[in-house]
């Protein structure tokens, strides 16, 4: 170990040493460590000795905080003085599905206030499931003169006025990435706020905003931002307008088309085709909100180098998809809607042998029409053709144990396996048995599995399998599953790397909750809603583990002894000081 070695000291350098037993001057150590990028590696580095801990904290530029309540901005800025990029995640994931009431918290503002003082050179902010107001966005725009990149996903509390402030005042902005958010979409005027002198944009994503923007302003903006690599426009942009944008930005690597639907003349059609032909660097394509069949062919020349196709909002059918995929041999990631059906997935298996990630979203999740969607045969077809598949998110209405077993035999490298059989508690539709063996096959075959979401009719056996085999599992999502406390206990005892456990509507009670007492401090968080846990059970956990925050959300007028929604997470920040009245910290 460096700090223990007793090397000959060079007297010239002695004054530079903070600690004279170190063989390296701190500047050198910091320089070397600044090249260590991985979070896990930096964490290990900081544990070696005091010198390395200090060198690491001084040289660190990016920080990732998976739970904004696990630490305070004061503690963060005290430890890391030179941060340029912050990634923050706020609400528990189930808030995406309306299981967390509004005004729960995760307000970015207190963080920004501290950052304005301690990180005046902040360049990048990536937020997920945070509460962000227009005032906060304005504050951001004014407080950080070097601010470059803003990315918002699943956030809420702001409107397009906040975006206008960012566009107006962030002179050095390179990235504005507005993904799926609960934004108050007032109008498209924000886009016109980029000053005419502004040319630094590299990433612009406003695909998920609905209002028209001033196309003239957009065209000029795209024209003068020569480094623009990512452009994702919204539905209001027509094919003709898209063509004009492409002509100005043939260097694009990622394109989100508009609605992709319009009546074009022959000339417009060929101009569009030529424009796509000229985009030699495209590797990511998304959008196609309406996607008239007749125009998909203009995409073909641009498809050869595509690695990521995000058609998760494009209502394509199997024929459209097949014809397109013929031209996409290099595809690595594909997101589609289940309108493509099993036949479309067969085409995936046939034409995209390099596929690593597949996500199939439901067009009709509430069964309001006659929706066929995809079945187990589509899943098998993909697995047969795409042996490198390691990430799947699959929404379906029917599944069998045998099919899943076949899939994971074909593709044993799964790291992320998220299967959603859309009717809660639904068994294997051919044998009427629970889906235990399906997930048993997944965890037995896929030794690298990190993330698992289960569904269908499941007994404790599923969880026994998980506890016994899923030794690399980090995230588990459970809904309407299990028979008794034993199920949850198996997972808590058996999965050493478990970090996030989220459970809803399952029969796990206090005994199960207590079996994780030895584990929760090594996890990011536990969520349990509509289970059998009681308030007294939660109080016991809070008592036994003061370093955990144990929070209960109970609706008004509910049963006082039941703990409807429990959120338990480790924290060095102590109990929340900004909890709303419906969040009880025990």
């Amino acid at each position: 170990m460096m700090c223990k070695s007793k090397k000959k000291k060079d007297s010239k350098h002695e004054t530079n040493f903070m600690n004279s037993s170190s063989a390296f001057p701190d500047e050198v150590l910091e320089r070397v460590l600044s090249m260590v990028k991985s979070r896990k590696d930096r964490s290990s580095v900081s544990l070696v000795c005091k010198e390395w801990y200090n060198a690491e904290r001084w040289s660190r530029k990016n920080v990732f905080i998976g739970n904004c309540y696990s630490v305070t901005p004061e503690i963060l800025t005290r430890r890391f003085p030179n941060i340029r990029s912050v990634t923050l995640k706020g609400k528990p994931r189930f808030s995406d599905f309306n299981l967390v009431p509004a005004n729960w918290g995760a307000d970015i503002h207190p963080w920004l206030v501290v950052f304005a003082e301690k990180y005046p050179f902040l360049e990048e902010l990536k937020l997920k499931r945070m509460f962000v107001t227009d005032e906060s966005l304005e504050f951001l725009a004014f407080s950080f003169p070097n601010f470059k990149a803003l990315s918002l996903l699943s956030c809420d509390g702001f409107s397009t006025d906040g975006l206008a402030a960012v566009a107006t005042y962030c002179k050095n902005l390179t990235e504005l990435d507005i993904q799926e958010n609960g934004i108050d979409d007032k109008n498209g005027n924000w886009l016109s706020c980029f000053p005419e002198s502004f040319t630094s944009l590299e990433v612009l994503n406003f695909a998920n905003l609905n209002n028209d923007v001033n196309f003239d302003a957009l065209e000029k903006l795209v024209g003068r931002c020569k480094s623009l690599k990512t452009l994702k426009v919204n539905k209001s942009i027509t094919l003709e307008q898209l063509q004009r944008l492409l002509v100005r930005a043939p260097q694009l690597c990622e394109l989100g088309t508009g609605s992709f639907s319009q009546e074009l003349t022959c000339q417009q059609h060929s101009e569009l085709k030529r424009a796509f032909n000229n985009c030699k660097s495209l590797h990511t394509l998304s959008g196609l909100w309406v996607a008239s069949t007749q125009y998909l062919e203009v995409l073909y020349p641009a498809c050869t180098n595509l690695t990521f196709l995000n058609f998760s909002y494009a209502p394509l059918d199997s024929e459209d998809l097949s014809k397109l995929l013929v031209h996409c041999p290099n595809l690595r990631r594909l997101w589609v809607v289940d309108t493509v059906e099993d036949k479309g997935l067969e085409a995936v298996g046939t034409y995209c042998p390099l596929l690593e990630e597949l996500r199939v979203f439901p067009a009709d999740p509430f069964d309001e029409g006659v929706a066929h969607g995809v079945t187990e045969s589509g899943f098998i077809a993909v697995s047969e053709g795409c042996r490198k598949l390691h990430y799947v998110l699959y929404f379906c209405r029917q599944m069998t144990n045998a099919a899943v077993a076949t899939v994971v035999q074909n593709c044993p490298d799964f790291t992320h396996f998220r299967l959603c059989i859309m009717t809660p508690g639904q068994p294997d539709y051919l044998t009427d048995e629970p889906m235990d063996e399906a997930f048993g096959a997944v965890v037995k075959n896929c030794t690298k599995l990190q993330r698992l979401a289960v569904s269908g009719s499941l007994t404790d056996l599923t969880f026994e399998y998980i506890g016994r085999h899923a030794k690399n599992l980090e995230t588990l999502s459970v809904a309407f599953a299990g028979s008794s406390d034993w199920g949850m206990q198996c997972v808590l005892y058996g999965c050493p790397k478990l970090r996030k456990l989220e459970i809803r509507d399952s029969p796990f009670g206090n005994a199960a909750l207590f079996s994780g007492l030895g584990k929760y401090e090594s996890m990011r968080s536990l969520w349990m809603s509509d289970c059998k846990v009681t308030m007294n059970g939660c109080r016991f956990v809070a008592q036994e583990r003061p370093r955990l925050n144990v929070e209960v959300i109970n609706e008004e007028g509910g049963d006082d002894s039941r703990a409807e929604r429990v959120y338990i997470y480790r924290s060095v920040a102590g109990p929340r000081r900004d909890a709303p009245p419906f969040v009880l910290t025990l």
Binding site: Y313, G425, S457, Y493
Partner: protein, 242 residues
């Protein structure tokens, strides 16, 4: 110095946090006795309270206990036939044994009261983000982006196209056509059509028949109109009067 571990994901859970030995399964088993006692006393305490009366559930008002979704999967499993029947029935209209045109067959089914609530009633299920859900609703509201139809006029060298979705009534539509083609249609009457006008607005419907604009309710017109034609009064003689 141990707090920094919370900021990163440590690769080994048995870390510096515990000064005592890490919680092996043995030590947990030893301490479960006290947890078991705790759990027992909690259970006893809870049965003394009348939990059923104040229980929160998901489900339609007036449903009996069997409709409870949370935590009671034996219910779902015992009804698994009905739930799987219902779910497959929604999917496939082709299954001959299910008579989907006779909706009452399902509603009169014995297990109707015991069937789990439809998916739309379960909060946050299936697990898709609000943004996507809202997008679906929008899609249902607008079957197409616009409803462009061709408009031809007797004697005109080329056709025009208009978006029917833009208009809410016949009067709006006719005014626009009058402007576009510099003509007038005169007064519409059910009995006489546009009798007396030099020009008459007509449309071709789904069956390929040429109809007088104005005869049917606006919505019906919208759903059956394939294209428009402004005919000369003489051309349209057969359409207006019966």
């Amino acid at each position: 110095m141990s707090y920094h571990l919370f900021l990163h994901q440590p690769t080994t859970p048995s870390n510096l946090i515990y000064s005592s030995s890490s919680f092996s399964s043995i030590s947990i088993l030893n301490s479960t006795n006290s947890y078991q006692e705790m759990e027992n006393s909690l259970v006893n305490h809870e049965t003394e309270l009348n939990l059923k009366a104040t229980e929160l559930r998901l489900g339609l008002p007036g449903c009996d206990e069997v409709n409870k979704l949370q935590c009671n999967f034996s219910i779902l499993r015992s009804n698994k036939r009905s739930s799987s029947e219902i779910s497959t029935e929604v999917d496939s209209m082709s299954k001959s044994k299910l008579n989907t045109s006779n909706g009452s067959e399902i509603t009169s089914h014995d297990d109707q009261d015991n069937a789990p609530p439809s998916k739309a009633q379960i909060v946050g299920w299936p697990p898709i983000r609000s943004y996507r859900k809202n997008n679906l609703q929008q899609k249902k509201g607008e079957s197409e982006v616009g409803m462009y139809v061709k408009v031809s006029m007797a004697g005109a060298p080329y056709l025009r196209k208009i978006d029917l979705k833009f208009y809410k009534s016949y009067s709006e539509l006719l005014k626009v056509l009058e402007n576009m083609f510099k003509c007038t249609f005169g007064e519409y009457s059910e009995r006489e059509g546009y009798n007396g006008s030099e020009f008459v607005p007509t449309y071709e419907d789904k069956d390929g028949d040429w109809m007088l604009i104005g005869d049917v309710p606006w919505e019906m017109f919208m759903s059956s109109c394939k294209r428009l034609r402004i005919m000369k009064g003489s051309e349209a003689k057969g359409l207006g009067c019966f």
